[in-house]
Amino acid sequence: MQYPEPIAKLIESYMKLPGIGNKTATRLAFYTIDMQQDDVTDFAKALVAAQRDLHYCSICGNITEEDPCLICRDKQRDQSTVLVVETPKDIMTLERMHEYHGLYHVLHGVLSPIEGKGPKDINIASLLKRLQNDAIKEVIIATNATPEGEATATYLSRLIKPAGIKVTRLAHGLSVGSDIEYADEMTLMKAVEGRQEM
């Protein structure tokens, strides 16, 4: 017994999403059949709109409805610092802090030859173009603390530093409000290495 074609196609579509296999997709598809017609229409519209109306900002690479993005257009923000991140999600996380008021740049990945990502495959060229603008005095690199993140940070600093721009890297160490007791050995080691005089 085969599923009728419309539902089979729906199951197949759900299975294209990450973390969803055959069983979950089937459950979601049957749920969709029983949904209110308006909800289904909105759902379908949202899916199409998300792709149609969203663009990558031509300056920083963040996702945005209008190009350039809100952050890049905001003249109140500190135009002299650029914080470099791996993904647009990282910007959302950093914005929640409400303490950083500079600009961002999204790399869309890190340098990783194993995954076929070289310097030309991530958003580095547009960063270098931005830096030709004299207003930028400091680049903060906030790639993840993985070997690939570190390599990307070192690579960027080698390209940017000769131009006389300050390059900094986020600190490693203990998370705030946590007990030393529960920290793993490597985090502690980094925290001891990066200790500060009081």
């Binding site: 070289g118 070997p147 390209l159 050995e185």
Partner: protein
Amino acid sequence: MYLEQLQLTNYRNYQHLDVDFSPGVNVLLGANAQGKTNLLEAIYVLALTKSHRTHNEKDFINWQATFAKISGTVQKSSGRVPLELLIGKKGKSAKINHLEQAKLSQYVGQLNVILFAPEDLSLVKGAPAVRRRFIDMEFGQMSPRYLYNVSQYKQVLRQRNQYLKQLKYRQADDQTFLGVLSDQLAQYGSAIITQRLDFLTKLEGWAQTLHQDISKGKEKLTFDYVQHLKGQATLKQALQVDTAHEIELGTTLVGPHRDDVRFLVNGKNVQTFGSQGQQRTTALAVKLAEIDLMKAQTGEYPILLLDDVLSELDDARQTHLLKALQHKVQTFLTTTSLSGVAKTMIEAPRVFQIQGGHLKRRTKVNG
């Protein structure tokens, strides 16, 4: 620490066993295929929950039974600890002091053992990869930092090798990025080498004393850490020369993943110039030096398991070996005949006669 008691239920060819051990030397005596190594294996499994002989845990269970149980009491400087390991068809569960442990990783480490089996001769005779694995395993247990550096190094090495291949096939052309990868590799690599040299110096000191005792002071054992730096002073520099050749081959040619340790007896490489006996003595000394290294790191001596090791040593080497261990480490050794050991021992060991899965304590050493 030492193992005071051991109980086995349905473990391989032992249906029921309940035995008290001596804190000194315990000799397991018996003909072939009677269960000597099975008993050593049971102690090893009680310590590490894994066997050195098989990955298939159903093998532990006697073929007539549905589960196997190993339990024992360990005497430590902090007190007595009862341990229990239950092996069923579906998995294992472990208890410390009668309390079930949620994770086996919490259980491992209660009982420390070092096993020396005939296969360990490959430490001296085998390929460099065998010695690197030994170093990484042993030092990794003692230093989380070493373990971290090794895992980071391996990851960067994979990236660099892949990038060298991409440069070879002109899929990439950025030399700056290669420089970044080289420097990153050199950073983790140098940290690994520094730690290896430090650990090896400590290990060498202990191995030297042991080796001297076993060889009656006639031979001097030294370690030589071999790096191939292409005539450069540091790894960082060595990774910068000859990149053309590396690109051609698509692989990284220098670094700790290519290094080796040479064991020298009186200045000669024992791998190529040593006799069988010298190679065996060297492997034994290196392995036994771990005992002292572990004591220095954890504050407690481990238990030593010697599987059929004595048969290939001459009487004098046996005497000195056993003397070196006697008042320090609880030792279990298997042998098919007692004469050599018994005659050369100064203090009588506790001897168990093993026959078809049954243990009998022998009161008389000779005979």
